[in-house]
Every structure is written in C-alpha cells, then in structure tokens.
C-alpha cells in the first residue's frame, strides 16, 4: 500500500521565533525543522511499510516555503521513499482551511491508499488539518491514534480521551493522525542520510495543482490574527523565610490568598 505522510516545516522552538508585520509567523527568517509531532507520523508510516510486502511506497508531502524541503529531507533520511514539496508565494499566510485545500489537491495527484498526519503542528497547533483533509477527500478520519494496527486495508486505532479510551476502525482510503504516544520516532542513520541524497523530490506550484491563487493565502483565509503579544516574563516567586516558626502560617496564608486552599 502506498502512503502519503503530511509533514509540516515549523520554526525551531529552541531558537528565536517571531511574527511578521501582518501577525503571521515568520517562517522564512528563522531556523526551522520537521515538526517533532510529524516525526511520529513518519515513524508509523515506516512501521506499517516494514510490516508490508516490500512494495509499499511512502511519499512525504509538505506545503511550505523554500526551506521546508529540510522537513522532507529529514523524513527521507528516516526512510521515506520520495517527497513532494508544494511551494508558491501565494500560499503564504494560509490558515488551516486554505492549507488543507492545497494539501488535498496535492494528495489527489499522488498514488496512495491512505494518508498519515501528525496530531497537531507545533506552531499553529490547531489539530484540524487531518479532519479537513478527510472531508475534502471524502474519506473517513481516524484521528489521534496512540496505538495503530493494520491488517490488509483495515485499520484499528486506540484513541485515548480524557474520560474514555476508544478503539475505532476504518477501511482504506482514510486519513490517520497519530499522537506522540504512538511510538518513538527513529533517528536518521548515516546510511539513511546518504541514501536520502538520491531520493526524488518533486516541487509543485499552485498551477500544477490547478488551485487558484485567490483561494489561498492570507486574504482568502477565514481566520485572521489581529494581534500578538509576548507573554510577560514569569514573575519572581515569593520566598517565605521561616525565622521564628511562623513559616507554615505564612505559607498557608499565601496559598489561601491565591485560592489554592
């Protein structure tokens, strides 16, 4: 079975991150990488492929700026077979609706049996793209899988909710999203890194997908970020010094004032 894995290129959370003048995340001027949560999607696809008959092919798909090819390369280094990079200036500023439109049109052009996504991106973190993709592709969604089993075209996943754990199933084609509990992602080996150099990556524009530029981008997006503000720095904690045995009372008083007790 052929698998498409959607991976997002996100700003590196350990480096400097900032917004652009129009309140969109600066994705060009910062260090980026393959979203950590999407590594789990790649890992699950690889594991499903490894259990297969060896004819399966994994295509990684990303929608993002020039440097987003880094995310594809990392997935190829992990073991995916080929990459598709949709890049077009008109896409900048797209919200999840617009992004999912571009992704869905690209997926339609790739020979596949099902789609795997991460549970959320680590920057936008809406967690809605997989559901939107399922809707646009007209296939079932099996999302937030923390344990994945597949037999032929049948998939069963465990979904851990706050109150209950569900087991849900579907038949390919479908859109699967997996959580960070689904299994540790592998690290690229040197062999994998060298092999990735020879794997094919195609670059598509909106025109290649037949998507009109007016349907995507900041202006076509339903959501608009109006304002952003940095979180105030954490204030210094209050230190209770127990000098005369009144420490416990002072501590209790503090907790009560914050309505903890």
């Amino acid at each position: 079975m052929n698998i498409v894995v959607c991976v997002k290129y996100v700003p590196d959370a350990t480096a400097d991150r900032h917004f652009e003048a129009d309140n969109t995340v600066d994705r060009v001027g910062v260090d980026g990488l393959l979203s950590e949560l999407d590594e789990y999607a790649v890992e699950q696809a690889l594991q499903l492929k490894e259990k297969g008959d060896g004819t399966d092919e994994i295509t990684v798909l990303t929608v993002g700026p020039e440097q987003a090819s880094d995310a594809i390369r990392k997935a190829l280094q992990m073991g995916a077979d080929k990459g598709v990079h949709v890049v077009d200036d008109a896409i900048a500023g797209s919200d999840s609706l617009a992004t999912s439109l571009v992704l869905a049109e690209a997926i339609k052009k790739i020979d596949h049996d099902f789609v795997v996504c991460g549970m959320a991106s680590t920057d936008g973190a809406m967690s809605v793209v997989p559901a939107m993709l399922a809707e646009r592709l007209g296939v079932p969604q099996v999302t937030f899988g923390s344990q994945i089993e597949m037999q032929g075209k049948e998939i069963r996943i465990r979904r851990d909710g706050d109150a209950a754990t569900e087991v849900i199933g579907a038949t390919a084609p479908f859109v699967l999203s997996v959580t960070d509990q689904s299994g540790e992602a592998r690290y690229p080996s040197f062999k994998g890194i060298m092999a990735a150099k020879k794997k094919p990556v195609e670059t598509w524009s909106l025109a290649d997908l037949g998507v009109e530029a007016e349907k995507v981008g900041l202006s076509a997006s339903w959501t608009q970020v109006e304002d952003t503000a940095a979180r105030p720095p954490r204030s210094q904690g209050e230190i209770v010094t127990d000098e005369d045995g009144s420490g416990a009372t002072a501590l209790a008083g503090f907790l009560a004032s914050k309505k903890f007790i």
């Binding site: 592998r186 690229p188 080996s189 040197f190 062999k191 890194i193 060298m194 092999a195 150099k197």
Partner: protein, 392 residues
C-alpha cells in the same frame, strides 16, 4: 575525497542526528549509570539500531558500506562522548578494537560468523593486548597459545580489557606467544576466544576512577581451548596487526577527547553566565572568562587535528603520514581534555567537586584518555621517531 577536513553537509546532519539520540537516550541517565557502575546493554543495542557500529563496515555485514567512512565514526564518538564518555569509549572500543581486527584480518568464515551481530550492536568484542607485565611494552606478552591436536590451548592473563565481560560480549581477540623465532624473540599471534569457552574467565569488573559505565575486566585463560581456525590473521603477525589496529583507535580516542572538551566548554559558558559573585556573573571577570576562552582554543585546535587525521584515513593517504597525524591528534586532544576538565571544575567552584553537576564526572573520566591506546609518553615517542630522531 581530497583529504581536507571540512565536514560535509551529510556529516553535519549526522552529527545532529547523533546529538538528538545522545540527548534523548543517554544524557538523562548518564549520572545514574555512573553512580551505579551500570553498563546499559539496552542503550548499546539502540546505538546499534542507529548504525553506529557499522559506519566503517561493508554492507554485506550490515554496515554503511561505501556511504560510511571513518570521519562519520569520529563524529558519532564525539557526540556520544559529549554527554557520556563511558558510552563514547564503549562505541570507540567496540568498533576500533572489537570489529576492526576481525574486519581487517579475519577470514571469510570468521567475518560471517561474528561481524553481523557486532555491526548491529547486538554483541560486543573485546581486544586483549595489555597484560599485568605488558602495557606500553606490549611485545612483552606472556600469554601463550599452543597448538595441540588441532586446537589452540591458551594460558595466561590480560588486564584492563574493555567490553570484555558484558552480558552481550561474544568474544575477545587476544595476543599470545605461539612460539619462538630463530633469533630468540617471541612469535606473537592473535586468537579469537569466544565467550563461554571453558577455561576463559572475565573476572569481576574493575573499580575505576572514571568510565564507570564502561565494561572493563581482567581476563584469565587456563587451558582455554579453541579451534585452530580461530587464529586471526597470519601466525606470527600478531604484533604488527595490533599496531595497525591502534593507529585508527588513536584518532577515535582523540574524537572522544573533543567531545569532552566541548562538554567542558558548554558547561563553563553556561555556569559562568548564571553564577554571580560580588553582584556580577563570574563570566564578567577576566580571570574566569579568559580561562573559558582558552577552552575554545583547545576545542578548535583538537577538533581540527582530529578530523584532519580522519580525513587522511578516508582519503587513503600514505600510512606514515597518517600515523604521525594520528599520534599528534591523540596526544594534543587528550592532554587538552584533561586540562579542560581541570578548568571547567575550577569555573564551577565548590560545585566542581560535587557529583551534582556532570562536570565532576567529566573530570574523573578524562584522565584515562592520556593513558589508553598508547600513553602520552608513547605518543611522544612515536612522534619523535616519525621525525627521524633516534629516541629509544
């Protein structure tokens, strides 16, 4: 490859991958393993999964084949050693002393029998050269192997042997006298002794100053019998063989030292920015900042020497040239590492003496770098000889 020591993009990407592995799988537990003197077999196997033991091995044994090189092995050792010197030496010894001799001198049968599991990190091999009476003077080997009825019968003792007694050690190769030459000198050969051979015992692990999570044992052989086919390489070539083995190992040890210096630098920069005395961070005092500047110099120089030697190896430069570069890198990087740990612990003040911070562990771990795989004195001897000096 030109023999230049610029690392390629792929080497740098591999560095990032090993760094993430080391941060995720080793760094959080290194202090505990050190305290418990615990050798983490499961992590060795994970390192195997990442392909670290196969970077210089052919594809047919599960290695990286033509894609791999010695430089990538040095990158891996440096990055593992940056968070844990014990796991760094485990990798270095597993490849340099365990896999290398079999790969270089083994017969096809020996390679098929042992290499796949060694390359996969499922098993480890030790290399037994040093003896109670033969270290720097390795030619003084007293261990004997006698050919009796188609079997080598090994008797003697080895000491300080890395990876020789772990739960996954599958064999040790040992140097032994197999006869006397016409001129009266010893004929030394190398023999593969599988774990579990009757008469071969890995004695209880040493209580060491550092490298607590690395597996080191004394070995005894009392009429340990192995098939004649376990001779590794040519009979009587044991001495020449281990000398060849040690050249590569020296560069790999230098890479381990680079990891140590990098760790010292990272820890010192961070601590000097955080710790305040007299109302300012200690890093604003020249007395502290200048010492840390020296760490940067040692790091840059050691790294350059190490990867230069590695690049020479990968480019197949003449042996004489490489040997000299290897000894220079080993000597400079390891002595710098010991100095770097002394500086870093000084930057940490009293905490430099407490096991609360990793800097203390690095201090204990560094010393042996100047001793193993040829002491500093031996390196100086080799370098002087390389210069044509008549040093004895």
């Amino acid at each position: 490859m030109s023999g230049s020591f610029e690392l390629s993009r792929e080497h740098e990407e591999f560095r990032r991958s090993v760094r993430e592995f080391a941060q995720g799988e080793i760094a959080p537990y290194a202090a505990q393993w050190d305290r418990d003197h615990h050798f983490p077999v499961d992590v060795v196997k994970k390192m195997g999964g990442l392909g670290l033991f196969g970077l210089t091995a052919p594809e047919e044994f599960g290695g990286a084949g033509d894609d791999g090189d010695f430089t990538s092995l040095c990158v891996a050792i440096e990055e593992i050693g940056r968070v844990d010197q014990s796991m760094g030496i485990t990798l270095e010894a597993a490849v340099g002393l365990g896999i290398n001799p079999i790969l270089t001198f083994g017969t096809e049968e020996q390679k098929q029998a042992w290499l796949p599991d060694l390359v996969a990190g499922q098993t480890l091999a030790g290399f037994g050269l040093t003896e109670p009476g033969a270290g720097s003077d390795a030619g003084a080997t007293r261990t004997r192997a006698e050919l009796v009825d188609g079997q080598w019968v090994v008797n003697g003792a080895k000491q300080f042997i890395t990876n020789s007694g772990s739960d996954i050690t599958s064999l040790v190769t040992v140097t032994a006298r197999t006869g006397t030459r016409e001129n009266g000198s010893a004929e030394v050969s190398t023999i593969i002794v599988p774990t579990g051979t009757e008469g071969f015992t890995a004695e209880p692990a040493y209580d060491k100053l550092g490298w607590h999570a690395s597996d080191t044992h004394p070995l005894t052989f009392e009429d340990a019998r192995v098939p004649e086919a376990n001779l590794l390489g040519e009979r009587g070539r044991g001495f020449a063989q281990f000398l060849a083995t040690l050249d590569d190992g020296r560069v790999a040890i230098a890479a381990l030292a680079v990891g140590c210096i990098q760790a010292c630098l990272d820890m010192s920069v961070q601590y000097a920015g955080e710790r305040t005395t007299f109302g300012v961070p200690i890093g604003s005092k020249q007395g502290v900042a200048f010492q840390i500047a020296d760490l940067e110099v040692m790091l840059t120089a050691s790294r350059a020497l190490t990867y230069r030697a590695a690049a020479m190896k990968d480019a197949g430069r003449p042996m004489k040239e490489f040997k000299q570069a290897a000894a220079v890198a080993k000597l400079y990087a390891t002595e710098s590492a010991v100095t770097a740990t002394r500086i870093a612990t000084q930057v940490f003040g009293g905490y430099g003496f407490m096991e609360e911070y990793p800097v203390t562990r690095f201090y204990r771990d560094a010393k042996v770098l100047e001793i193993g795989e040829g002491t500093s004195e031996v390196q100086r001897m080799l370098i002087a000889r390389g210069l044509g000096l008549p040093v004895e």
